[in-house]
């Protein structure tokens, strides 16, 4: 057999379009997931009575079941639920694209929440006390004192988690969406060029994710020079996050 590189080259615009969707999905899920995750982490950290338990259950559930199953939940069940809630009575399909955005944001928020929570625990108690002593309200204590420090301290883990998220976006394949892998799979099957397209996809993912890992490693090294890391390492270990 021969490697037909020309077929891949001629499909480049379509593949790039797919890649663009993968990146878009990653960015939306990262930003949405970080916002929601930080919010949930603060709720748990403050120990808000009922909400804190609800967040805990949500995070545990999301972290215990496969992403594909969550995608199916949202793809099939949410339209039915919406149908029940509206007077029309019939199911309202969300469409795979919208499902993907919602699912990834909600799913990733659980992971980001655990990272931020580990960070909140690792911050020196004096920071909280200092903010209180200055008379800051709880919301400004978190938003202008604690969270900025947490984000800096957890930056390497957040980048690692985002690389995992980027890799996971390939799973939208099960909803037949045209992300990078989906685009390649469609043309590969049309032209019977599985070898060429799948190996190209693998190499491109390898390049992008390697750059990401390198970035995460740089952050980590930079922080290694600063102090306060033992504390974060300990908190990470307690939450089983060290694998990040």
């Amino acid at each position: 057999m021969s490697f037909d590189f020309a077929a891949v080259v001629s499909a480049t615009p379509y593949l790039l379009q797919g890649l663009l969707f993968s990146v878009e999905l990653t960015l939306v899920a990262m930003i949405g997931g970080m916002l929601l995750g930080t919010f949930m982490a603060i709720i748990r950290h403050m120990g808000v009575p009922v909400a804190s338990e609800a967040v805990r259950a949500y995070v545990t559930l999301m972290r215990s079941i496969p992403l594909i199953l969550v995608l199916f939940w949202f793809f099939f069940l949410v339209p039915l639920l919406l149908g029940h809630l509206t007077p029309a009575g019939h199911s309202i399909p969300l469409g795979p694209r919208f499902t993907a955005f919602i699912t990834f944001t909600l799913f990733e928020s659980a992971y980001y929440a655990e990272i931020v929570r580990a960070g909140l625990k690792a911050i020196d108690k004096g920071q909280y006390e200092g903010a209180k002593a200055l008379g800051l309200s709880t919301s400004s204590m978190y938003s202008s004192v604690v969270v900025p420090q947490v984000l800096r301290a957890t930056a390497p883990i957040i980048v690692s988690q985002t690389i995992i998220l980027f890799q996971d976006t390939a799973l939208v394949y099960v909803l037949s969406l045209t992300d990078f892998l989906g685009a390649a799979a469609k043309i590969a099957q049309r032209d019977s060029k599985l070898v060429e397209f799948y190996s190209t996809v693998a190499v491109v993912y390898l390049l992008i994710c390697s750059i990401g890992s390198e970035l995460s490693e740089r952050f980590r090294k930079k922080q290694g020079q600063r102090s306060s890391n033992g504390r974060l390492e300990r908190a990470k270990r307690m939450f089983g996050l060290a694998r990040l």
């Binding site: 559930l61 199916f72 390939a170 799973l171 394949y173 070898v195 799948y198 993912y205 390898l206 694998r243």
Partner: protein
């Protein structure tokens, strides 16, 4: 959940479908898990040796297998491998009967991917040991192999048990990716039941409960193992007391 006891298209019950899915998930989990740990420990140890070429090879392994999405890796094993090896071998692979034809590529993909992650944990474990351990082993005249098997790895692995537990859980969840190459594990069975019965909630709730149960059992087992194998005085929970 009544639907689980209804008769399915193949004469059995939907519960039977789900149980068959459970069987494949567990089998895939176990086989890939054992392989991943074996490879991961080897590669992780290789990343910390003094011999430079071995260290570079291990580093490359981790780089490649960790940075390509698992789904893509499975596609490579399933679609691409039979095409790029000599034709006779390729057609021999294509002759394999259905469940196994997806099972082997799934095992290859899952174990090699997970091994790259375990290798990083093992490396961190070995590096966290005091330098004196290696020096003492040298002083005793142990070979490099003996140093790892008798001195470094037993300690490193005991330190890394908590993170290895979360790898095992991650592996369990990743088994569902095998449905993309046609293995009928739990998630695939749930989707199938949904397709046949339109009882969407029942189908996916059953699958979710199964995953939660397995995770619960895993946590209990891991907790006991951790307790038994903990190196006295190194518990990370000590810090919570102050």
């Amino acid at each position: 959940m009544q639907v689980l006891f209804d008769q399915a298209a193949d004469g059995g019950t939907y519960l039977g479908w789900l149980m068959s899915g459970l069987f494949w998930t567990l089998l895939l989990w176990f086989v890939s898990g054992v392989l991943a740990f074996a490879i991961g420990i080897g590669v992780g140890a290789a990343r910390t040796v003094r011999h430079l070429p071995l260290r570079i090879a291990a580093r490359l392994y981790v780089q490649v297998f960790r940075n390509v999405p698992l789904l893509v890796q499975m596609f490579l094993w399933y679609f691409v491998l039979p095409e790029v090896i000599p034709t006779t071998w390729g057609s021999a692979i294509k002759q394999i009967a259905p469940p196994w034809a997806s099972f082997y590529p799934a095992v290859a993909g899952l174990s090699l991917y997970t091994a790259s992650r375990i290798a990083e944990q093992v490396r961190a474990g070995v590096n966290s040991l005091s330098d004196g351990q290696r020096k003492a082993a040298d002083a005793l005249g142990l070979t490099a192999f003996q140093t790892y098997v008798l001195v470094l790895l037993p300690q490193a692995l005991r330190i890394t048990i908590p993170t290895l537990t979360s790898e095992a859980l991650g592996l369990l969840k990743n088994t569902s990716v095998a449905l993309t190459i046609g293995l009928l594990e739990i998630t695939a069975r749930a989707a199938q039941i949904n397709e046949f019965t339109f009882r969407t909630f029942d189908a996916f709730a059953s699958a979710t409960i199964l995953y939660l149960l397995i995770a619960l059992v895993l946590h209990q087992v891991a907790f006991q193992v951790e307790r038994i194998l903990r190196i006295p005085g190194t518990s990370p929970n000590n810090t919570s007391r102050k």
